[in-house]
Amino acid sequence: MTARMKFLIGGGVIVAALAFLAAVGFQESRAYYITVDEYQEMRDHLQGATVRLAGEVVAGSVDRSGQEMEFVLGSRAGSVAVRYVGSAIIPDTFTDGSRALVEGHIAPDGEFLARRIEARCASKYEEEYGDRTGS
């Protein structure tokens, strides 16, 4: 067998093993990514799945009085009530009007149970001042 053949076989085995690991990891970590606008229409379809939901925190909706935090994510077309059931501290960037990404699943009554609220990276702030300064 030539060295080239051996390399191709060895490489094939490595790639196949890694592809298998990737497939397993993919099954574990896939999540449907939707916006508030799509929520109503996708709701029944996504029962039981991990969902990441993007929207804007509706001003004045954040209620931190109880053990769990509740708030509403909104958009131009709709809104979704979210209950945060995670244990991590809420990032500072999470305030009225900020854009947020929450990860969790949909409760049967339509409420969204979030396990995680994502802190955003600096390159994602553009629009805030973009709106104000729009030339």
């Binding site: 060295a3 390399f7 490595i14 449907y32 600096a122 994602k124």
Partner: protein, 660 residues
């Protein structure tokens, strides 16, 4: 000054287009004067871009809030230093930085080669200027940072608008690491333009024999280290500013910079094979083309809003142009490779599976798989939307599940590769040379097992680290020992001479050693601890070996922000070691955003990482989050060592025979 800036951009665009046309004309019917004229136009375009960059810096320094970019990213209270760096605080200014770096690189590359590689230079100039024209065009027409603010009145008339103060620079960008991270990252993302331009020029001018690789070896290595340093600085920034306790989250923006790093790491290794053995010629051109395109892809991802709206810079209609440009580069490049395939014939075949060549091939294969997997995971939301209409995204578990084994395989190759001889190695001689490293790995594994370690991938990682480190140390010792015996040099002198005589090789070993340190740091991740607690003054919390006691709370003010600060006394195993003061800052301008400043007690063994997350209970209860992150220290040490090793490899080698 704003008009001057726009004028400079227009001038630069005209000059670069002229240079492009002149270079191509000069090449097609050989006219040296025409090519010289094109090269001069490159210098002028570079100068013009630099002036535009200077103009924006001046506008920011002088608080010219009539300009939208200044009003949106600066304010009177901002320290001068941050005013200048606010150039890259937003999309349009960072595009100008991109243009400036591209133009400067083009000028330097042309100047360096003014009396060499005359056959290739017209094409080099053409490629450089095609790229620069493209970015100048985007900068000028879609993201001009010199636009003025205007107010539209109800009657439809438009008047200039001058706000009293600016909106301020995004607070989380006000940090030293964020000041240098973007420029360093850009140097790394843009730099592959030059090796790519030489590769294309070599194809067009039918220069075989890897002239382009020799001409651009230093560019490649320099760009590679800038890219790596940019990634580490970005991680450092995320670690100390974002305050979530980690440095890497497989975010699309992060992934987009990691991909060209992986490809260029592959290229760095495979270009050695072409230089030594005349193999992999087609492959190297494809790699450099990919490194260049992924650099552009990275800026495309952050600017176009393709991946997801929350992850994007402002949505803009730049996306289509980027896609068209990348498609054009890819098709021209691939066509040229196909057309010149006869010139790119391999001079040798692979002799044996147990050889240095084969180790390099496996290294390339694995790096490319990593890059492909990251690309797939990052772009999956887009692909799934195309195919099935729903966006499906994948999270960190996907990236970890594939990249942890890949990292381990690469670490193994880092250890074994240098022990293999070129052409072929017998199993017996390989067995001899792995004796000491293998013993070190077994000792490390046994030590970890005895210490109660049960995590298999961490065990494998640390044992492999011991393997690679031992192999490198053995290599240094053996070389130094030979010098000592032959010339009677002292140990330090023998080591210094050893490195000095073959800087490429030993610089490379130092970089490998740095990789070992960084992997040890990554392995520490498996043992991170986290604790969150609400505390009043006098109360304390525990995490790992540490006890944190709230000693007091103070408030204060700077022109830029108000701050609240908790003083925490830190005890380790009941002995008081220091006071940590995590801070919350409330910025006065713009979004009035609150940021946290992480307080860090960093030791080689572990970092104690404390965030003051909030105040409740009428200002008397402080929410404190503490993390213990083992071995993170070694990531930064490894990164510094990597820069050092690369610098050594870049120094001119007195023994090296200069290329023809």
């Amino acid at each position: 000054m704003a008009d001057f800036g726009t004028f400079c951009l227009i001038t630069a665009l005209c000059l670069s287009l002229y240079a492009l046309i002149a270079a191509l004309t000069g090449a097609s019917r050989p006219r040296a004067g025409m090519v010289r004229s094109a090269e001069n136009a490159v210098y002028a375009a570079a100068a013009s871009s630099a002036l535009a960059f200077g103009a924006l810096a001046y506008l920011l320094a002088t608080d010219s809030f009539a300009v939208a970019h200044v009003a949106g990213n600066s304010s009177r209270a901002l320290p001068l230093f941050y005013k200048i760096t606010a150039i890259w605080g937003a999309h349009d200014g960072s595009m100008l930085l991109w243009v400036f770096v591209t133009a400067a690189f083009s000028g330097i590359a042309v100047y360096q080669n003014r009396s060499r590689h005359r056959d290739m230079m017209p094409y080099v100039v053409a490629v450089l200027m095609a790229d620069l024209s493209f970015f100048l065009f985007l900068n000028l027409f879609f993201s001009n940072p010199f636009h003025r603010l205007a107010e539209v009145f109800p009657d439809g008339s438009i008047q200039p608008f001058l706000p009293a103060d600016g909106y301020g620079l995004n607070p989380i960008l006000q940090h030293w690491a964020m000041v240098i991270h973007p420029p360093v990252q850009y140097l790394g993302l843009i730099g592959f333009l030059v090796p790519f331009a030489f590769a294309i020029a070599a194809l067009l001018s039918r220069q075989t024999g890897g002239a382009w690789i020799r001409a651009t070896r230093r560019w490649t290595i320099m760009t590679w280290i800038f890219l790596g340093a940019g990634l580490v600085l970005g991680g450092k920034w995320a670690y100390v500013v974002l305050g979530w306790g980690g440095y890497w989250g497989w975010d699309p923006v992060e992934n987009s910079s990691l991909m060209p790093w992986l490809v260029s790491t592959a290229f760095l290794h495979s270009m050695i094979v072409e230089q030594r053995k005349g193999m992999l010629k087609v492959w190297n051109i494809i790699l450099v083309m990919l490194a260049y395109l992924l650099g552009i892809f990275s800026t495309f991802l952050t600017r176009s809003g393709v991946v997801s709206s929350v992850h994007a810079f402002a949505d803009s209609n730049l996306g289509t142009f980027f896609l068209a440009y990348m498609a054009a580069v890819l098709s021209v490049g691939l066509y040229l490779v196909y057309d010149r395939r006869e010139d790119l014939r391999s001079e040798r075949r692979l002799d044996s599976i147990l050889s240095r060549e084969s180790a390099f091939l496996f290294n390339n294969l694995i790096l490319m798989v990593a890059c492909f997997a990251i690309f797939w995971g990052t772009m999956f939301p887009v692909f799934s939307e195309w195919v099935r209409g729903t966006k499906i995204s994948v999270g960190p578990p996907f990236f970890n599940s594939i990249n942890v084994p890949i990292g381990l395989l690469l670490l193994l190759l880092t250890g074994v590769g240098p022990l293999l001889a070129w052409r072929r190695t017998s199993l017996r001689s390989l067995g001899r040379s792995v004796r000491i490293p293998a013993a070190a790995a077994c000792a490390a594994a046994a030590g970890l097992l005895a210490g109660g370690m049960r995590n298999p991938s961490v065990m494998a990682c640390l044992a492999l680290c011991a393997f690679v480190a031992a192999a490198i140390v053995e290599e240094f010792c053996r070389g130094a020992w030979a010098r000592r015996r032959a010339r009677g040099e002292s140990w330090p002198k023998a080591v210094a001479n050893l490195v000095g005589r073959n800087k490429r090789r030993y610089g490379g070993y130092i970089v490998h050693f740095a990789v070992v340190l960084m992997f040890a740091g990554f392995a520490g991740n498996a043992f991170n601890l986290e604790a969150v607690q609400r505390l009043e003054t006098g109360e304390s919390m525990h995490i790992g070996d540490y006890t944190l006691k709230v000693a007091g709370y103070s408030e204060g003010e700077t022109p830029n922000y108000d701050f609240g600060r908790v003083a925490l006394e830190v005890f380790r195993n009941d002995a008081r070691i220091r006071t940590l003061e995590p801070e919350r800052r409330m910025f006065k301008t713009g979004s009035r955003q609150v940021t946290t400043t992480v307080a860090l007690h960093s030791t080689p063994k572990e970092d104690l990482y404390v965030v003051f997350a909030g105040v409740t209970g009428g200002g008397r209860v402080f929410e404190i989050r503490a993390n213990v992150n083992p071995l993170v220290y070694w990531i930064w040490v490894g990164a510094a060592l990597m820069v050092l090793g690369t610098a050594i490899a870049l120094l001119p080698d007195p023994q090296a025979v200069p290329g023809p």
